[in-house]
Structures are given as structure tokens and as C-alpha cells.
């Protein structure tokens, strides 16, 4: 880099390039070199998150929560203990939607009742986080907003709010906000794609 800069300065001082051109060249070179370093840092290998394995949902009465999620999303309850139960997004032996790998299991919700500072893993009590998952959105098949609202009303869910044309928000029995969306709501939908997906995430 230094050699390159020296040559440009030399050319400038000898009148081969203008001051403006020198600034342009050096600016480009500096930002390109910086970007290269950033890209290099980003390429440090991380772990490849293939899918959400489970969502750990903690509330005062896990059975009540599990019954609600079972009812709204047609989920079975498996592996119940005195403190928790799992609700997989499908039947045993099924693969997650869009996944072909054999070692990626169905996503599931674990509804549980426990202290909020219960140990993470086998470590000390869980730290108090300075961040929160304030809502979670589930993708459902054949989503249609008005039909979804009718379905929710039919099972007694109240306070259903529109989340743009392609999703709705509801509160579960413990006031936790849940969004229900179609496959068209994706990470890449922006203002230019409002015709095909929700802009409200």
C-alpha cells in the first residue's frame, strides 16, 4: 500500500495526475483495502445455523400455554414432564419444510415453567439479558389474512391485529405477542416488494 501511495504522490508531484485525481485514487485504494480486511474478517468460519431447533418459552403455566399453541397451530404435545412439554412442528419422522439434510430435526416450542434465571446449560444461573425476543412469527401454509382472522375468531382468540396485508398479530394467554404469516414474508422483502410481502416486521 505504501509503495502504491508513493507512486501516486510521485505522479502527482511530477504533474502526471491532478490533485483531484490523486484524491480519487487514494480514496478508492484506501476504502478498497479496508473493505478487503472487513471481508476477510467476516470470512472467519462460524457455525452454520441450519434452522431453529427450539424456542424456549417460559411462562407461569406451561400446560395452559401448550394447550393454546396446540389449538392455534395444530401441534401435538410430546415428552411432557412436570415442568415442560415439547410441541414439534410436525409428526415424528417428518422433515422440516425446505430442509433436505437428515440431521436437522423438526423445530419445536418447549413450553416450560421455571425460574427465569434457571441455569443455561449446566452453568451458573442464567444472566439477565439486555435484549429480548419481543415477538416471534410463525409461517403457516396457505395464509390468507381474512381467513386467518376468521379462524382465530373461531377458536376464541381476541385482539387480532393486522400486520400488513400478509400477517396478523395476536397475544397468547400470557400476553406474549405472536405473529402469524405466510411464506411470502421474508427477510428480503422491502419497499420495492410490498406487492408480494408484508413490510411490517
Amino acid at each position: 500500500m505504501e509503495g502504491f501511495v508513493a507512486k501516486q504522490v510521485h505522479d502527482y508531484q511530477n504533474g502526471k495526475i491532478s490533485r483531484r485525481r490523486l484524491v480519487e485514487i487514494l480514496t478508492f485504494a484506501a476504502t478498497t483495502a479496508y473493505a478487503g480486511k472487513s471481508a476477510g474478517a467476516a470470512e472467519q468460519p462460524g457455525l452454520n445455523a441450519a434452522l431453529v431447533n427450539h424456542v424456549s418459552y417460559t411462562c407461569p403455566d406451561f400446560r395452559r400455554a401448550a394447550d393454546w399453541y396446540s389449538m392455534v397451530f395444530n401441534l401435538d404435545q410430546v415428552g411432557a414432564t412436570a415442568r415442560d412439554v415439547a410441541l414439534p412442528f410436525g409428526k415424528k419422522g417428518e422433515k422440516p419444510y425446505g430442509v433436505s439434510a437428515d440431521d436437522v430435526p423438526l423445530t419445536h416450542i418447549i413450553c416450560r415453567t421455571r425460574s427465569r434465571d434457571a441455569s443455561a446449560g449446566n452453568g451458573p444461573p442464567r444472566r439477565k439479558a439486555n435484549a429480548v425476543i419481543d415477538h416471534i412469527a410463525f409461517t403457516v401454509a396457505d395464509f390468507d389474512r381474512e381467513r386467518a382472522k376468521a379462524q382465530l375468531a373461531a377458536v376464541g382468540v381476541k385482539n387480532v391485529r393486522d400486520g400488513g396485508p400478509f400477517s396478523v398479530y395476536v397475544d397468547d394467554p400470557f400476553g406474549y405477542e405472536v405473529q402469524i404469516a405466510g411464506l411470502g414474508v421474508t427477510a428480503i422483502c422491502g419497499a420495492e416488494a410490498r406487492a408480494t410481502c408484508s413490510d411490517n416486521r
Binding site: 452454520n48 417460559t58 446449560g121 452453568g123 379462524q151 416486521r201
Partner: protein
């Protein structure tokens, strides 16, 4: 339905309808019956869930979270959705084909329609667990260590904290599976 079919058979036998008309009528009746049943079942049985669409993660500095999740879990930030207050971090299958994303956002960027952070909620998602395919215990632990993270948990099911002390679990299919609890 049974009576309807019986009437059709009678019509066929009497020559009132021909064989083709008979078949068409039965097929149509079956289709209408099936559609009605399915529609009713949809209301009664709830939605057919496909997966997690996204998780809305509110923290003091979305950029710090964005960079951490990109580095540790290889999530891809969708550039066009990074507005300086939030970023969409994609992972898993392709968008629209089962892929999910984590929305890392500052407190000021609540999604319209969403109530945002609700202090009154009695429930909390205290951690998210991500599946890592092709699990290699030594490689996974070495990767986390190289990122400067303290790891707890057991083989095949590890926990780390993100920059805002949010608990992140990383697991293999063998150790974290709803049907093997």
C-alpha cells in the same frame, strides 16, 4: 352423500344418465365433499405451521448483534433491509422456501402493527436453540472458543451468551430433538 350416490346409480340403471355423466357427478360430489371437510377441519384444527418465520430481537445496539450473529452463526444480513436501526439476518433454507431470519433491532424500530417490547407480558423466550448440521464436537467448541466465547452445556448441546447476555443454544440433531426428550 350415500343417498345422493344411490340416486345417481338409479339414474344410471334407468338410462336417465349415461356412464360418463355418472362418473362426472360422483367425482364432483367427492371433490365438493372433500373441500368442505378440509375447510371445516382448518377452522377446527388450527393452522398448518411450516416453521419459524422470524424472531424479533430488540437490543441496545442492533449493529453489534448483527455482527455477532453473522460471525458466530453465519447469518446473512440482507443489505437492503439494514436501515441503520435494524437488520434482517437470514439463515436456513432460502427465503420463501422455509428460511428464517432474526430481526436485530434497536428499541426505536418496533415493527408497525407490533406492540414491541411488552413489559407486562408474563412469558419470555429465554433462549433460542439453533441446529448445527454435520456436528463435530471438537470443531464446534474450537470455533466458539476462537470467537472468544465461554461455553457451557454438554456435548452436542452447548450454550453461549451473545453480546447482550442473551442465551444462545447450539445443538446437534442427536442431542436436541423433540421426539427424544
Amino acid at each position: 352423500m350415500e343417498r345422493f350416490i344411490a340416486d345417481l346409480v338409479q339414474g344410471l340403471d334407468s338410462g336417465r344418465i349415461d356412464r360418463r355423466e355418472f362418473c362426472q357427478a360422483v367425482a364432483l360430489a367427492a371433490a365438493v365433499y372433500g373441500a368442505g371437510d378440509a375447510a371445516q377441519a382448518q377452522v377446527q384444527r388450527g393452522f398448518k405451521i411450516i416453521g419459524i418465520n422470524h424472531m424479533s430481537y430488540t437490543c441496545p445496539d442492533y449493529a453489534k448483534a448483527r455482527d455477532w450473529y453473522a460471525s458466530v452463526l453465519n447469518m446473512k444480513s440482507e443489505g437492503t433491509r439494514d436501515d441503520g436501526k435494524r437488520a434482517n439476518l437470514m439463515f436456513g433454507p432460502e427465503p420463501g422456501k422455509g428460511g428464517s431470519f432474526l430481526v436485530a433491532r434497536n428499541p426505536s424500530s418496533t415493527a408497525s402493527g407490533s406492540a414491541g417490547v411488552k413489559p407486562g407480558a408474563e412469558a419470555v423466550i429465554d433462549h433460542i436453540c439453533y441446529t448445527i448440521p454435520n456436528w463435530d464436537e471438537a470443531r464446534v467448541r474450537a470455533t466458539l472458543k476462537a470467537k472468544g466465547l465461554d461455553v457451557t452445556g454438554r456435548d452436542g448441546s452447548l450454550h453461549v451468551y451473545d453480546p447482550f447476555d442473551y442465551d444462545v443454544q447450539i445443538a446437534s440433531a442427536a442431542e436436541e430433538n423433540a421426539f427424544r426428550r
